[in-house]
């Protein structure tokens, strides 16, 4: 069996799904391959759902702004309720160094036109009723950021992409990428081969392995974060709360109340837990609960329902790899999202669609210039 497409995407996840949607919308014949049984079963399902544009670099800000516009208009555009809420993000400060760092960053973010401000402790108490006030110095608040359900998004993207003609091949991993004369020709799977002049590696945590199929070194190393979700309760807070104080065993943690009223939370282990093991550990619950209850004591009575681990496909500098891979014509990378694939996804997908149909904007060219896979990796993004 064989079939011919314009574009083949490896990975029906946070990035591959919106990419397929926007490509199909642009009239491109697109096929998506994934080893899992249904959409979003890689790391998309592990995302907690936060969506913000308040990053510290030009490209991610632009991509996420486009994402937010899309998430916010998702229902009008597609008819699907994905649980979008524009609750904002607040980074809280309980120490002077963190206050200084956040205030400096706010000034930089404002220069990008982001709606974000430093607010005093009274405002934080208003945003997060019941928050611990001892030592609270204030924090940032960016009201345009928000959240939506990754599970609902994956379902909706797949359905809408299919409606527009995209084809999905589940339980069918890409096992070989056919390259002839330096040009992509197609892919093989255990079931068949498929022809296409363009291949997009949107394989998330498996981007390195998919890269190796064509002899590419894709500098993506997953590390593991642990997350959880509670029972639903009546709405008591709107924003995503981020606490970047280090503590033994962890860097930052963050949580919000989703559209169902459930609190979804996540912690960043320190030192990072490298690798692809995503089985739940016994360390997570006591560690995260202590920090969350200390920050917001009322959570003590909130029941945790489920925990899981997800992989952050990290790059050396904490920023995504986006654009043409050097050396192979027709091979594109949309990978290394560093745990932000879900919020970057629609922006990245829309950009890819424009890029592959010759419609890219000057802003797209800027983003690709910053995120091109063959860049020199320096430093680390401030809020990673």
């Amino acid at each position: 069996m064989s079939a011919a497409f314009d574009v083949i995407i490896a990975g029906a996840g946070s990035v591959g799904l919106p990419a397929a949607f926007f490509l199909a919308e642009a009239g491109v014949k697109v096929a998506v391959f994934d080893p899992e049984a249904s959409p979003g079963r890689g790391q998309n399902r592990a995302a907690i759902g936060g969506i913000r544009a308040t990053h510290s670099d030009r490209a991610k800000i632009a991509l996420c702004r486009e994402s937010i516009d899309f998430f916010a208009s998702f229902k009008e555009r597609t008819g699907d309720d994905i649980g979008w809420r524009r609750g904002g993000y607040t980074f809280v400060a309980y120490s002077e160094p963190i206050e200084t760092m956040l205030r400096t960053l706010v000034e930089k973010q404002k220069t990008f036109g982001l709606v974000i401000d430093w607010v005093g402790p009274e405002k934080i108490v208003e945003l997060v009723p019941g928050v611990a006030t001892a030592g609270l110095l204030g924090g940032t608040f960016s009201p345009e950021d928000g959240s939506a359900s990754p599970l609902l998004c994956a379902t909706a993207f797949k359905r809408r992409a299919e409606e527009k003609g995209a084809r999905f091949f589940f339980r069918e991993p890409v096992t070989r990428i056919r390259v002839e004369g330096g040009k992509v020709r197609g892919v093989d799977t255990p079931k068949a081969h498929y022809e296409a002049p363009v291949f997009v590696n949107a394989a998330g945590a498996a981007a390195r392995e998919i890269g190796a199929l064509a002899g590419l070194t894709v500098p993506v190393e997953p590390d593991c974060h642990e997350a959880g979700i509670t029972e639903p309760v009546a709405r008591f807070m709107e924003p995503m709360v981020v606490d970047i104080r280090p503590a033994p065993g962890s860097k930052n943690f963050y949580f919000y109340q989703n559209a169902e009223g459930q609190v979804v939370f996540c912690i960043t282990p320190d030192p990072p837990i490298l690798g692809t093991d995503n089985r739940s550990t016994s360390v997570f619950l006591p560690m995260v609960a202590k920090r969350m209850v200390a920050l917001l004591p009322r959570l003590a009575n909130l029941k945790i329902r489920r925990v899981w681990r997800g992989l952050y496909p990290m790059t050396p500098d904490g920023s995504p790899l986006l654009g043409r891979a050097a050396g192979i014509e027709g091979y594109y990378l949309a990978a290394g999202m560093c745990g932000q694939g879900y919020m970057l996804g629609p922006g990245v997908g829309a950009l890819l669609s424009r890029l592959l149909t010759g419609r890219e904007t000057p802003a797209d060219r800027d983003a690709i210039a910053d995120l091109r896979p063959d860049r020199e990796f320096r430093g680390m993004e401030a809020l990673k």
Binding site: E36, A37, S38, P39, G40, R41, R45, P129, G130, A132, L151, L152, A154, T155, F170, T230, E231, P232, V233, A234, F236, G261, D277, R279, S280, T281, S282, V283, L285, P286, V288, A289, K290, M292, V293, A294, P297, R298, L299, A300, N301, L302, K303, I304, R305, R306, V307, W308
Partner: protein
């Protein structure tokens, strides 16, 4: 207000303490017994509806009574809690939960503490028959063993079992009541220095680092065992029919918990679906508590449980409808009636056979599923693990006690302890105890030419032999097999001691004694309901083996022997020809259990709720299947099945049935990913650590 508490019970002792703890339900002052859980205190006040589902406003109440779901959530002193797990405290303000509960701001910061990690050689999850038996075996070997159980007393479901157990006296304490077996096993545990028993301690997950999270009261511990023995029991299967989520529809386990643990009457008139041992015994337990059992339906052409259990309730006056199923439970806030109908061999409803009964409760006893997640996770994480009892394979408690011992020895060997092989005869005995009952044989009995003799109505092969064991004349023969054979009186003589009558767990033996008056012998009938029903000098309606009425006969005496252990020996005088036919005493009239004039119709099948946490209907699930959904995880993403408060424990089995009904090969579907937690736990427990 009528207090709905069990005031008299033939087997269970009366409640030790009166209801004197005041609390408030939606502003009304009520009284609870000290230590009583909220749900039982509410049931004692006749309150069955605890709230309404935020999605569709459907009434909610008790479902599992076991801490496993959240259907019984109420607001207690401002905080949403599972009412079946939280005891009433003095002046507690309890309110119904009709929407997403509020999360109160706390006046003071809660305690933050460290979580201790404890080492043990073996961790046993579950202190039921299998877990306790395993721990006893491990304790005898000196193995450091920690047993955890989420309830406040050891014994698991044994503490709900007022009837005498089957099996053999030597191996499984046959003839002893479940409640007393629990006490005996607990006493043995207490005498073993290497075994520690933690009650009110819930295992909430097995983690990939080999640790098991335990919530002990409000403290959190991690246990790092060298090996794990899972004896966590089973959960009750559900069957979705219109109205199955109404308050008043309960699993038999929930019902027995309310009735036999908490001595609360959950209902007045009930119907039972399921003719396995669980359903049959639940009917018996209801009758013991003076509740009316209107009928029992079983979809198969014969009951699946022991015939002796079925006959026991037939004689008491319970109609058994074989080849029948429940079509619907009706009611708005609570069950008001139930419609049943006949089914053919393919389980298709036979039109025109619908019957509606006015009842306030329907018990669903359609089987059990092993609670296998702990063992499955432990295996996946490379731990040394064994499962025993219902967690390994659904069978009788007698098999669980034996299975626990075997699993303990296997685990000890895997730990490298110098333990002999599991004796082959143990494995053989376990296989016998797990054996399905044999085909029923019609009761045929020719009275022997003796002045006194027993009549044994044990109509199928089941693993049980105490009648033979206690017979001082060795006159009861087991047809060749030491335990599975059907007992019969082989003679040559009977001493008239009636020990066999008193010990038979199936109440299947009577004794005919014509020594004083050969023409009007005395028939000794075992009776385990309230003694007031069979007062000396009164007339009682005696029935034959299958409950057929034989006439009114005088009670000439009632013996309450210590050795008979609360089984009354009721002595009736009857004519010589009738005496050997008398098998039991009727307490309710099946003729009065008539259906309503007109049968009611149910909702359409599409409206039936499959996921009771998120109220996802069969119609929506079927639609997703027809759209091509084959991955249960995708179904979850689309519809929120497996996402609710029961932590995905209940609906996957029901969804699998829909897959099958839609012609989808279950082998082509992807199961939902299971993750901790096993039950929901508040943040404060993890944050507070191991401080108690």
């Amino acid at each position: 207000m009528v207090e709905r508490r069990v005031k008299r019970h033939p087997i269970l002792p009366p409640a030790a303490t009166p209801a004197e703890v005041p609390f408030y339900w939606n502003g009304e002052r009520l009284l609870a017994r000290p230590g009583e859980v909220i749900s039982s205190a509410l049931f004692a006040a006749g309150i069955h509806v605890f709230g309404h589902h935020p999605r569709d406003g459907a009434p909610l109440g008790i479902f599992c009574a076991n801490g496993q779901c959240a259907q019984c959530t109420v607001i207690a002193n401002g905080v949403a809690v599972k009412s079946c797990m939280v005891p009433v405290t003095k002046d507690m303000v309890v309110e119904s939960c009709d929407r997403a509960p509020k999360l109160p701001v706390l006046g003071e910061a809660p305690a933050i503490g460290e979580t201790k990690t404890l080492d043990t050689e073996v961790l046993v999850i579950g202190a039921g028959p299998a877990g306790l038996s395993a721990a006893i075996e491990l304790g005898k070997l000196g193995v450091r063993t920690l047993v955890v159980d989420d309830k406040d007393r050891p014994g698991g479901k044994l503490v709900l079992q007022t009837h005498k157990f089957f099996g053999s006296i030597e191996d499984t304490r046959a003839g002893t009541r479940g409640i007393d077996i629990a006490a005996e096993l607990a006493a043995e545990i207490a005498a073993l220095p290497s075994v520690t028993l933690w009650l009110e301690s819930t295992a909430i997950g097995v983690f990939s680092d080999g640790r098991v999270g335990i919530v002990r009261r409000n403290a959190y511990f991690l246990v790092d065992p060298d090996a794990l023995l899972v004896a966590a029991g089973a959960r009750e299967k559900q069957i979705p029919f219109p109205g199955h989520t109404l308050p008043g529809v309960y699993g038999a386990g929930a019902f027995q918990t309310l009735l036999n643990r908490d001595l609360v009457k959950p209902c007045g008139r009930l119907f039972i679906l399921g003719g396995g041992n669980v359903g049959l015994i639940a009917a018996y337990h209801a009758l013991q508590a003076d509740l009316e059992v209107v009928g029992l339906a079983e979809a198969l052409p014969a009951v699946g449980g022991y015939e002796v259990h079925a006959d026991k309730i037939r004689r008491l006056g319970v109609p058994i409808f074989t080849s029948h199923t429940v079509l619907a439970a009706h009611g708005t806030e609570h069950v008001e009636s139930v419609t049943i109908a006949e089914v053919d061999r393919e389980f298709r409803v036979v039109p025109g056979t619908e019957k509606t009964f006015a009842v306030d409760t329907l018990l669903v006893a359609v089987g059990l599923s092993p609670l296998d997640e702990f063992a499955r996770d432990a295996v996946a994480f490379g731990m040394k693990v064994e499962a025993a009892g219902d967690a390994a394979e659904i069978a009788e408690a007698s098999a669980a006690t034996f299975g626990g011992r075997i699993a303990a020895l296997k685990l000890a060997r895997r730990l490298g302890l110098p333990v002999a092989d599991v004796p082959r005869e143990w494995e053989e005995k376990l296989a016998v105890l797990k054996a399905r009952p044999g085909a029923p044989v019609p009761h045929a009995f020719e009275p022997p030419d003796l002045p006194v003799y027993p009549v044994i109505r044990c109509t199928q092969e089941i693993p049980c032999n105490p009648c033979s064991t206690v017979c001082s004349k060795h006159a009861i023969d087991l047809d060749g097999d030491p335990i599975l054979g059907r007992p019969r009186f082989a003679g040559p003589e009977c001493s008239g001691c009636a020990k066999c009558v008193a010990i038979c767990p199936g109440l299947a033996i009577t004794m005919v004694d014509g020594r004083k008056d050969p023409e009007n012998p005395i028939v000794t009938v075992p009776f385990e309901l309230a003694g007031e029903r069979v007062a000396k000098g009164s007339l009682v309606l005696a029935t034959g083996a299958r409950g057929e009425p034989l006439g009114l006969f005088p009670v000439v005496d009632v013996k309450n022997r210590k050795a008979a252990d609360r089984c009354l020996l009721v002595m009736l005088r009857a004519p010589k020809a009738t005496a050997p036919l008398i098998a039991g005493i009727r307490v309710q009239d099946p003729a009065e259990m008539r259906p309503l004039e007109e049968a009611l119709a149910g909702e359409t099948a599409d409206d039936v709720v499959i996921c009771r946490c998120e109220h996802v209907t069969a119609g929506n699930i079927r639609k997703a299947v027809r759209e091509g959904t084959r991955d249960l995880n995708e179904m979850k993403a689309k519809l929120r099945v497996c996402m609710g408060a029961c932590c995905g424990k209940n609906c996957p089995e029901l969804i699998e049935k829909i897959f099958r009904a839609e012609g989808v090969d279950p082998g082509k579907t992807t199961p939902n990913t299971r993750r901790p937690l096993f039950v929901e736990v508040p943040f404060g427990v993890f944050a507070g650590g191991s401080k108690e």
